[in-house]
Amino acid sequence: MGVLALGSAALMLVLRQPMRVALALITTMMALGGIYGLLGVHFIAAFQVLIYVGAVMVFIVYVIMLMELREAEGNRRFSGWRVPGLVVFALLVLVLVVSVWSGGTGSLPPAASAPFSLTQFSAEFLSRYWLVFELTSVFLVAAIVAALAVIKVSRRVDG
């Protein structure tokens, strides 16, 4: 599952057409959903597939399909910063990996005994983290307002 996720992510970087890149991303997300399921957090896995793949990626795919966005033949695929990018990428991976692997799991606090459950999660969500809950609703309202504004702007631009 992990290999699949990684592989399709790498593929994303290489493919030319945006449609194909979107498909690669879908693959990655599905793979992640699978990983979540294997971990035991089924509801998160469900949400991943439902929201991310079902809403976000579908949206992207629709946009690409309906606007017929393609890369023209002559366009350059990669930006001017390939080489430095790759160099720093290597450095970053190195640094992160070393920092994660150096300690080993011994340096982390011990794992919990009971597995994670949905009931526990929803109870906490609404009691301890109720503020987050409220703020997300505010945030969604703001997003809707912003979307309306964008529509107005686009209407004006179109004349």
């Binding site: 930006s79 001017g80 910063w81 430095p84 990018g85 720093v88 990428f89 450095l91 970053l92 640094v95 992160l96 920092s99």
Partner: protein, 636 residues
């Protein structure tokens, strides 16, 4: 005798008042509000008042058994633990000096009313003269070396202003500048000496310093008396025109004649002598410095006399004569005869002032002519001037009975026989100088007044005797030159500055030397009469025979040229090349411009980072994450 509480301060400040009043109202500054007459009254009145006060102070001093009068004025500065006060001090020495300064000063002021009558800057002249008197009085009445130094510098300033009085002629301004700069060189030595004294004695009060050096105060100074003595002497060479700093005095003749009389004959140039006598406590314990002083003094006297032999400008002859006589004074100081030196200061003031003012009278009569080759035959035309000049000349030549004879003879005697450095060699050189003095003075007399007239016709028509304001002063000074020697100043001062002991073996030479002095004086007279009394052929023949020597002397031994080559040119070169081009333009300007350029360039460089390219920004984000992680490794 009235005892006034602030007499000394009044004596000093009265001329200052005169300076301020005349300086503002009698000059262009105040719109020439005072007329000539009022300016003259103000200008002369204050010095005369000061003179009267001085006489009064002397009487007070006498009544108090000659205990010094000390008058503090105010506290000048307090720095840390040390205080510096302005205090006035009056004892026998100060009394004599102040009397000379105010007395001779006043009569010269009166003379100036006649001499400067037609000058357009009449008011400015009197203002400057009064300013000079103020500073000179500060110099002689100050208790602390600091006050003396203020006066010292101040008279230098006044001298500069007065030498360059007619500054429309650039040469006069240059002469003033030369005088000031040469003085300043000497002042460096003076200052160093002062610093050493302050460190050693903790005070700059001269009476205290003397007491310390004489061991009276109980403490022994930790500085070499000879070193201090030499440094102070360097200051004196600048002010009193000794070798090597005498070059300003002949040039100073560019100023009006009363200035030459007052400043460069009677008072300012004797400031160096006064300084040494005042600090006699140091010099009595400084045999090396005293020896140097004696040698420099006698050498200066000799050198200046040789130059005076061939000068053709009436004032220049007198200028070199002054340098020579000052050399005599330093000779006396060098052998420990301090009182005798002061004696010569006083008599010299009388006859040299008379000579200079007489020369001024001649110049006035001839409408500005100063070349003695173009004079002659004036005896009957300006008789008063002539006779006063004769008396003064006789006095300086040392004709017995007149003032100069007494003082000069004492100097010669002590040069020979003083136990503090007298030697036959010193006496010999001094004696030859005395002979030359007599000779060149009588030469001057002959060429100026006697013999057939060599004047230009236009000049000859206008020859007239000077007004009373001038001739009256001349007569007074001539009288003093005649009788001034009878009051024995060395003995008057002996209670304060003891005379040196006489070397036992030489004691019996006294009579002999006296006779020799008289012979020398008359020989000079005879030689001059011989040379210049007859036809013009004789001096010409002698000159041709000794032509190379004559040329050397006429060129004043090329001293000025030497200084120019050795000192002036390298200094100018260094200022221009090194300092102007090198440091100022190259380094300072370069640094400032360089910093500005640096700022500009780095700003340009940094500006290139903001390209607007999102890719680049993302790259930076990644690099930043790497950097942050690495940093967090390092720091735990």
């Amino acid at each position: 005798m009235i005892s006034l509480p602030h007499t000394l301060a009044a004596i000093v400040l009265l001329p200052l008042m005169g300076f301020l009043l005349n300086g503002v109202f009698a000059t262009a500054l105040g719109g020439h509000r005072f007329g000539n007459r009022l300016a003259a009254i103000v200008g002369c009145g204050f010095p005369i008042a000061a003179f009267v006060l001085t006489v009064n102070a002397l009487l007070t001093l006498q009544a108090g058994g000659y205990a010094p009068l000390i008058e503090p004025l105010y506290r000048w500065a307090t720095i840390g633990d040390s205080t510096f006060d302005v205090t006035f001090y009056f004892d026998r020495l100060s009394a004599i000096m102040t009397l000379v300064v105010t007395g001779v000063g006043s009569v010269i002021h009166v003379y100036s009313t006649g001499y400067m009558h037609d000058d357009k800057s009449h008011g400015r002249f009197f203002a400057y003269l009064n300013l000079f008197l103020f500073f000179m009085l500060l110099l002689v009445l100050g208790r602390s070396m600091l006050v003396l130094f203020v006066g010292w510098e101040g008279v230098g300033l006044a001298s500069y202003l007065l030498i360059g009085f007619w500054f429309d002629d650039l040469a006069n301004a240059r002469a003033g500048k030369k005088a000031f700069v040469t003085n300043r060189i000497g002042d460096a030595g003076f200052l160093l000496g002062m610093f050493l004294l302050y460190r050693a004695c903790g005070t700059l009060d001269m009476d205290t310093i003397n007491a310390v050096f004489m061991g009276l105060a109980g403490s022994v100074p930790v500085v070499s008396a000879s070193l201090v003595g030499l440094l102070l002497f360097i200051g004196a060479t600048g002010k009193s025109a000794q070798i090597p700093l005498f070059v300003w005095l002949p040039d100073a003749m560019a100023g009006p004649t009363p200035v030459s009389a007052l400043i460069h004959a009677a008072t300012m140039v004797t400031a160096g002598v006064y300084l040494v006598v005042r600090m006699s406590g140091i010099y009595m314990h400084a045999p090396e410095a005293s020896q140097v002083m004696a040698i420099v003094g006698v050498a200066t006297a000799f050198l200046a006399a040789t130059i005076a032999l061939v000068q053709t400008d009436i004032k220049k002859v007198l200028a070199y004569s002054t340098v020579s006589q000052l050399g005599f004074m330093f000779l006396a100081l060098g052998v420990g005869a301090y009182g005798v030196a002061i004696f010569h200061v006083v008599t010299h003031a009388f006859f040299k002032a008379c000579l200079f003012l007489g020369a001024g009278s001649v110049i006035h009569a001839l409408g500005g002519e100063q070349d003695i080759r173009k004079m002659g035959g004036l005896r009957t035309r300006i008789p008063i001037t002539f006779w006063t000049f004769v008396i003064a000349t006789a006095a300086i030549a040392g004709i017995p009975g007149l003032a100069g004879f007494f003082s000069k003879d004492e100097i010669l005697w002590y040069a020979f026989a003083s136990s503090r450095g007298g030697s036959p060699w010193l006496w010999g050189v001094a004696a030859v100088t005395a002979l030359m003095t007599a000779f060149y003075m009588f030469r001057l007399l002959w060429l100026t007044f006697l013999g057939p007239s060599r004047m230009d016709h236009a000049v000859e028509h206008h020859v007239h005797e000077s007004p009373l304001s001038m001739t009256g002063v001349l007569m007074l000074l001539a009288l003093l030159s005649a009788v001034g020697g009878y009051f024995s100043i060395p003995h008057f001062l002996e209670a304060q500055v003891p005379l040196p002991a006489i070397v036992a073996e030489r004691e019996h030479y006294e009579r002999t030397l006296l006779v020799v002095s008289i012979v020398l004086a008359f020989s000079g007279l005879a030689l001059a009469a011989l040379m210049f009394g007859g036809s013009a052929e004789r001096p010409e023949r002698v000159k041709r025979a000794l032509l190379p020597l004559h040329r050397l002397l006429s060129a004043k031994f090329y001293v000025d040229e030497l200084y120019e080559r050795l000192l002036a040119r390298p200094l100018v070169w260094m200022s221009e090349q090194v300092l102007l081009r090198g440091s100022d333009r190259f380094m300072l300007d370069g640094m400032l411009n360089g910093m500005a350029a640096l700022a500009l360039r780095s700003a340009g460089l940094l500006g290139r980072l903001q390209t607007g390219s999102l890719h680049l920004y993302s790259l930076f984000v990644m690099a930043g994450i790497v950097g942050a992680l690495v940093w967090s490794w390092r720091h735990g």
